[in-house]
Amino acid sequence: MFDDHANPAAREPHRLSAFSRRGFLGGAAGLAASGLLLGGSRAARAASNQVIVSTWGGDYERFLHEFVEAPLRAKGIQVLPDIGQPPARMTKLLAEKSLKTGQMDVVHLSDTDMFQMRQDGVLARIDYAQVPRGKHIIKQFYDDYSIPHIYSAQVLIYNPQHVMPVPDAFAAMWDAKYKGRVGIQRTAWVIWLQIATIVAGGSPTNYEPGKKLLMELKKNQPRIYPSQESLADGIASADVWLTPDWKARGYLWAKRGLPVKTAVPKEGAIPVTYRAAYAKNAPDPAPSLEYLNAMLEPKAQMDFGEQMGYVPTVTDVKLPADLDSVIGFTEEQRSKFFHVDFAYVAANNNAWLQWWNEEFLA
């Protein structure tokens, strides 16, 4: 680079063009070969009884493997997991939108993310004639483009050794006596806006009062963590006494030995369903629909409830009373659930993220 004398191309220019011709031919051959392989693998996927499931890792994937996929494997359906975080899954779906055949079949996302993917036109409409368990889906969770797998709601998670009396409202997190003891997950901007909106008296289509109230929360010096796991570390070390999270998460943390209990806020909890759909460009819908149906089977639903703390989304599965009291919601609590307007969230998410980064976290 600094000495042309050392550069073979400078000394023998004709060799440069010869290399370029060889290089071009080699590159073109490589491209053609990889194209053949890719086309071959797509054709092979369409022909085989295989379903690629894009999902979270950890316990969720492990329980899918044990409770949902075992009967499918017995039928000869090969399930291949594609583990990753929701943003990566959504980006892949969007990036592959124009392809004739995508690289994933079934995709798992939360209700908010699934709505966005539906709006972006990457999901296939479910033929419920092929998903017989669909008729047992709880009516409020039914959708044409995705099945609800499990549900829970954002509640208060608190350390009973430090938080007294038992908090009964999200508003408790603004109490000055918890200064420096409220935990916030950095990626949970939508949830926090919803919580603040509930406390401030906003509505499902107006989170502006919530924004103002969140800026007030900064005076309470909340602790902000980059991930769920680091927030759990904060709870374990008693740096954090109070945080909102899914009731199921509180159940799992308590099972793991963290000093936590859960309390459903009187203002109304914020529900979430974790859903599954299949990509519009999945090569063969049949194994994907079998997979979706298997997720709604009674035993799989019950096992997920017992192991992960999320409530079944089908009407013919009733949790045992002791488990229901820990992870479930009463009729009254469900009637007070905050109604999430997914279209409003999708339309404003980018602006809220900007506000969260530039104003709240700054």
């Binding site: 600094f2 590159g27 491209l31 570390d233 976290l361 700054a362």
Partner: protein, 268 residues
């Protein structure tokens, strides 16, 4: 290279001129709105500024730390050289995320560092190191220093030790020998190492995300936020190109400065 590098970058460049549509990905058009947004928003300029100064600081510190290590390896007996190089490369076998998790265990309020310092009564209260800029800088330097060592070591090995001995024999001090003989001859390694490390630092993601505080953000995180968290591909693409152009300009400029100094030292 064209298919797997240039073509995707051209596609991204094209996206950067589209307009984000909330809930609908993007509108295909030719607009400068994303670039205007970057240059008119002090927040993103601050993010780029943070990225540049953190990258520059980490590059300089890793050069200072790496040079003596690279020199020792370059001058080591052949019997030990391979083992030393393996020790240098060994940390690279651990992924950045796993390494960051290790730093979190070390720097946390109840981590090993605070535990030792409190036990030694050197502190009365735990140090607040996690989720600070300091933690990010230490984490990034730990990642990039092996690359700097490898870049320097290969060039230092090519410097004839007789030249240094001759300088010392002629009465030059150790520092003078280093400054006037070793360093100028090692310049190609310094240029290569600093360029590589600077580029790595400018694009750091996992370490700043896991170790930085809530308000600490570098460009890679900002790009991730736009593309993955809010599906604003046009603006994310624009940020990516601004980062790339900034990195190229600063790398080429620093290479030019260092090369000029190297040539001046050689001709002297």
């Amino acid at each position: 290279m064209v298919a797997f590098l240039v073509l995707p970058m051209l596609i991204m460049l094209r996206y950067s001129f589209n307009v984000y549509v909330p809930g609908g990905l993007m509108k295909v058009t030719l607009s400068l709105v994303n670039y205007r947004q970057f240059f008119s928003d002090p927040y993103f300029q601050h993010v780029l500024g943070t990225t540049v100064w953190v990258a520059a600081l980490c590059t300089i510190v890793s050069l200072v730390l790496a040079f003596p290590v690279a020199y020792v390896i370059a001058r080591a007996d052949q019997r030990y050289k391979a083992a030393l190089l393996i020790l240098v490369v060994f940390p690279l076998l651990v992924g950045n995320v796993v390494r960051a998790a290790g730093w979190m265990a070390l720097f946390g309020t109840t981590g090993a560092l605070n535990a030792v310092l409190l036990w030694l009564h050197l502190l009365r209260a735990p140090l607040h190191v996690m989720y600070t800029t300091t933690a990010v800088i230490v984490g990034i330097i730990a990642v990039v220093t092996p690359y700097m060592i490898i870049a320097l070591q290969s060039v230092l090995e090519g410097i004839d030790v007789k030249l240094e001995e001759a300088a010392l024999n002629l009465g030059a001090s150790g520092w003078s020998t280093f400054w006037r003989v070793t360093l100028p001859l090692a310049m190609p390694g310094v240029v290569a190492g600093t360029s590589l490390v600077f580029i790595l630092c400018m694009n750091a993601y996992a370490t700043p995300f896991l170790l930085g505080g809530p308000s600490f953000k570098m460009m890679a995180q900002a790009i991730y936020d736009q593309i993955q968290s809010s599906q604003n591909w046009p603006f994310g693409a624009a940020l990516a190109f601004i980062l790339m152009v900034a990195t190229v300009i600063l790398t080429v400029a620093s290479q030019a400065v260092l090369s000029r100094r190297s040539k001046a030292a050689h001709s002297a």
